[in-house]
Symmetry: C2
């Protein structure tokens, strides 16, 4: 991709709506060809997040069932959460693991970064893989205990048949970890 | 996943902020264990969207470069857009293809559905694969002509090395189409 491409010029950024969690901005801009547009986007949280694929005993990965209020249903997801102030990515991943699935990890590595609908959101999610797990539980802010579900490493893609496993970040992470395991010779396609 | 799990009870849904594009709702609910919470979510657009992986000449897939205002940068993406009123998924996909890359397709199939951060958004995106392309251009609402980029089928995963290809929906679609092609014997890992 050509990185010398000329970018639109942002003329004005204005907060147009605000709730406890979200601020919506209207962004007025001029494209290089002179066309003007006003777009809306979410103001950046300025906080990145982590999603962790934890491998238990080299045989299973760990998922949680949590309530997703926009779908009004429970979904299957890898543990995830915001990076707290003062934490690095690995510390955040280890804390979220302890809070959500009751394990810490002695070996956490980064698999990659994902964005989500970058026309509207700028926040970045780090996908990490956690191994060498040990039992340690931290209290999180969950309203109810999360149900933890193991999924066999040797049947990873069958997760895609689950109607409650459709979040694009989770689907991407699943494929990324499979690729990573295959590259190391720990899994075959 | 256990589908008989008892869901939280929604007590009240209230619009708390609104802009031209977005409405934010506060949702008050009680979990089965009695814990009360107020969550925020985006009010549903009531419109689903499509993302199309178009295969040209059985050798390349088609990407567009478009400006993503939340990142304030150009990103690489598969063609995509909202399903218009009266369209089915395939019609929407074909129209978006004509608008964004200047091709129609005689063979469009569904690969799957993705959600995006289902704690906040309920909208669903249909991932489709388009083949047997023919040249036809429709005018879209793009502020500037989109730059179209071909990517070789036999090197699909190298797209993951592009820093501007990180949107989780795009990453998922890339892996999904690769899997689909491998299953048909048209590609090897």
């Amino acid at each position: 991709m050509n990185n010398l491409i000329k970018k639109p010029k942002i003329i004005k950024v204005q907060s147009v709506a605000q709730s406890r969690l979200f601020t919506i901005e209207a962004v007025e801009l001029t494209f290089p060809n002179g066309v003007r547009r006003i777009y809306e986007r979410m103001k950046s949280f300025k906080r990145e997040s982590v999603m962790i694929v934890a491998i238990l005993d080299d045989t299973d990965i760990l998922l949680i069932q949590e309530y997703a209020v926009a779908l009004e249903n429970y979904v299957l997801s890898f543990p995830k959460g915001l990076i707290e102030s003062g934490e690095d990515t690995y510390e955040a991943a280890n804390r979220e693991l302890k809070e959500e699935v009751g394990f810490g990890s002695k070996k956490i590595q980064t698999l990659g970064q994902l964005t989500m609908a970058p026309s509207y959101f700028s926040s970045e999610m780090h996908i990490l893989i956690a191994e060498e797990l040990y039992r340690e539980k931290l209290e999180g802010d969950e309203p109810e205990p999360l149900i933890i579900q193991k999924w066999p490493l040797d049947n990873l893609l069958s997760l895609l048949d689950e109607p409650n496993f459709r979040d694009a970040r989770n689907v991407s992470a699943l494929f990324m970890v499979r690729e990573w395991l295959v590259k190391q010779g720990r899994l075959t396609y």
